[in-house]
């Protein structure tokens, strides 16, 4: 997944208009971002840990999406969606992919837990596990892509990343 590293139009240097210290969502988005990074850290070493924290991972992603859509990408705010359209579209895309992948992974996980309590044949157990492992990997990948995009958005909105001076492709 590529990160949006440029706005659709040439932004003005310096802090965006319409924001104030009070409205600054940077600390909260930073907190949410850190939570996601912290969650992914032990899972990088042991992917199976995701099975018991998938709902929490998805909840954190949902909290981040709500925060970014309601407090970051707002007209006359830190990142005006009209001005940072490509960044906003990419962010929405990775969120939708995370959401949809979680939906399937959660279903597979639920089915796996229910079936584990029954007496399955070795072939059934192994087939079940193969499906689960595949969707687990896919979900972790989508969650990482989402996290990467959040890092990019956070960089822009906190001013850590300077917007490019030249206009890129519109839209």
């Amino acid at each position: 997944m590529s990160s949006a590293d440029e706005p659709t139009e040439s932004p003005q240097p310096g802090p965006p208009q319409g924001s104030s210290q009070e409205d600054d969502p940077a600390p909260s988005l930073g907190d949410l971002q850190k939570k996601l990074v912290d969650l992914l850290r032990p899972i990088a070493k042991n992917a199976r840990l995701m099975d018991d924290s998938a709902a929490a991972a998805h909840q954190i992603a949902e909290d981040i999406y709500s925060f970014v859509s309601e407090k970051v990408f707002i007209a006359d705010g830190k990142l005006d969606p009209a001005r940072y359209e490509r960044l906003w579209r990419l962010f929405e895309m990775v969120w939708e992919e995370e959401y949809d992948t979680y939906d399937v992974y959660e279903g597979v996980l639920e089915r796996h837990k229910k079936r584990r309590e029954r007496d399955l044949t070795v072939a059934e157990t192994s087939a079940d596990l193969e499906v689960l492992v595949g969707w687990r990997r896919k979900y972790i990948r989508k969650l990482r892509e989402f996290k990467d995009q959040v890092v990019t958005v956070e960089g822009y909105q906190s001013g850590r990343v300077e917007p490019p001076q030249q206009a890129s492709d519109p839209g």
Binding site: S53, A55, I60, Y65, E70
Partner: protein, 157 residues
Amino acid sequence: MPGAHNVVPLRPRSSPPDALPVPVGCLGAAVRELDGLRRCIEQIVHCPSWSVAEWRAACGPLMLRLPGARDSLADLNAIRADRWPDTEWAVLVRAQRAEVERRLLGVSLAMNALVTAEAGNVDAAVSFCSDGAKLAEATRGLCMLILSEYPAAAGGG
């Protein structure tokens, strides 16, 4: 398709221990309960019985401990990565807790087979000892994880 929802504010990192989703006192009670279960199981596994009557006698104390252990695991279920100040720790605890729950189920099934058997059930005995050793190990790991983050949970009684 996903939509916007209300933002759920994070609990500040400086939350007092009792403001945690599971207060430290409750963590301590769970550690004591689970540690009691572990010691009980280790005792049985290290000195396996051979007759149905012996198994019944040996499993009596364990059966008494199961409801308390299950309650403790239910209390620890409130530890979730999205609600706990230390996210990484919560991920580890949650997985370890699930492991204890799985092993506990295995031990319970094996124990039922042992104490309801008409004659000695070797398969159930082997299964009990194997699952019991794994349950003891998982329980020890869970207690250590909790105490590593909240040493104060070791106190009380």
